[in-house]
């Protein structure tokens, strides 16, 4: 039985919940049993916001994350939230612009300019989509074109072009990491 545990964490307002929704949709489509649990503060901006996905191709035994293998950290507020539950072989993606002190451990930390890339594309708001592209490309278990379809399905027409650009930019960032 294969289990994927992913965490999308940062500050409120960064689009982490949407990011998690896309991946849970994708994993559901691939036949996994998926549990998505969200946690955020009453404020719409700032404060810790996170969403966890636990996906299993067998019968999952526990819905909450205990052994993360993919972690996204977009803000300092989330840097310590996952301490102790990250696997040693996990991929931890960090945006250094707003996370000055990333968590420490044996796992591999990949620092990528996610928000800077989004700003360069025209809006900081698509940081989450850039991150989606990065994770989709780095993960061996997720098909990129299914992610793209899922994103296309939920994007308002007005932001479709921008979202697609952001996804591609994220994929490019991840390919750079792979090549290095």
């Amino acid at each position: 039985m294969k289990t994927l545990e992913m965490r999308f964490s940062g500050a409120g307002g960064q689009g982490l919940q949407l990011c998690a929704k896309i991946f849970s949709r994708v994993l559901l489509g691939e036949g996994y049993h998926v549990s998505l649990s969200q946690s955020y503060e009453p404020t719409s901006r700032g404060g810790l916001s996170r969403a966890d996905i636990v996906a299993s191709d067998g019968s999952p035994d526990y819905p909450l994350a205990t052994d993360l293998n993919t972690v996204l950290i977009l803000d300092q507020a989330a840097a310590t939230a996952s301490e102790g539950i990250i696997r040693d072989d996990a991929i931890v993606i960090v945006d250094p612009r707003r996370t000055k002190n990333p968590p420490k451990g044996k796992f591999k930390i990949i620092e990528l300019p996610l928000s800077a890339t989004a700003i360069a594309l025209g809006s900081e708001r698509v940081t989450n989509v850039v991150a989606t592209g990065v994770i989709a490309e780095l993960s061996d278990d997720i098909e990129l074109d299914i992610v793209e379809k899922a994103l296309r399905a939920i994007s308002p027409k007005k932001f479709l072009d921008l979202n697609m650009d952001a996804l591609r930019a994220g994929v490019d960032l991840a390919r750079g990491v792979k090549a290095a």
Binding site: G13, P42, T43, S44, R45, G46
Partner: protein
Amino acid sequence: MNKQVALKAETKKDFEIRDYLRLDLFPHFMCPGCGHGIALRALLWAIHDQGIDKNKLAIVSGIGCSGRVGTYIDANTYHTTHGRPLAFATGLKMARPDLHVVVITGDGDCLAIGGNHLIHAARRNLDITCLMLNNEIYGMTGGQVSPTTPHDRFTTTTPAGNMEPVFDASRLAEAAGAGFVGRELTIHLPRLRDLISEGLEYKGFSFIEVMSDCTEINGRKNDLGSSAEMVLGQTRAMRPSEYDNNVVDHPFRPNSMDMGVFVRSNRPEYGATYRAMVDQISEGQKS
């Protein structure tokens, strides 16, 4: 003739807002472009202009984005329960008439769950300054419809557009008997400052409606643009409607909104009346 106004060779700022802030809490929690920040500046500036001692100032706030605004003021601040800041403030002012009591509340806090308290606070005309930050939505909880959400606006609870008519908060306060009522846009900071200043000075219940903007929730959901575009958009509202009919072929915006002071009455202040009555009764008991 030219009026010559020489410039003061000032070396220190007259009003330094940081003197009035709890700097350790900054940056504050509000979203980028939130009008509440501008309203907070106006309030503190007015307090400065009125020369009110920070130790004699009590800020009472409720729940919501507006409720958190008071937290940043370096004075006596109370973060109370949802809808009840006016009730708390009433008790506070009755117990300590020497304090300047300022209530910071929002449209949902003040008009929905706290609507009852508003009308009675206004009716009593107790010497409280009530600053209602009207951003036309429940921002803190993610954008639900509030009593001031305009017609046809999209919120999470009105996915097909708001069908309810709105409260005109200032007219409501006026009708309930508030002694001083005024409304201003956040973008017009000097005017807002002067309005709040007048409200603070007024002996009685002063209700000040601040037209704030919620860029991140209301703005994004309803496609109202960036923060600058939203505050510019608000200025449309202050064009009197008869004005357009005279100028152009088609009206600019059907519902226009007045700004400024609507009511400044000579009604007796509740606290003073109450104390006079107490004095009278205790005189009577003595004799």
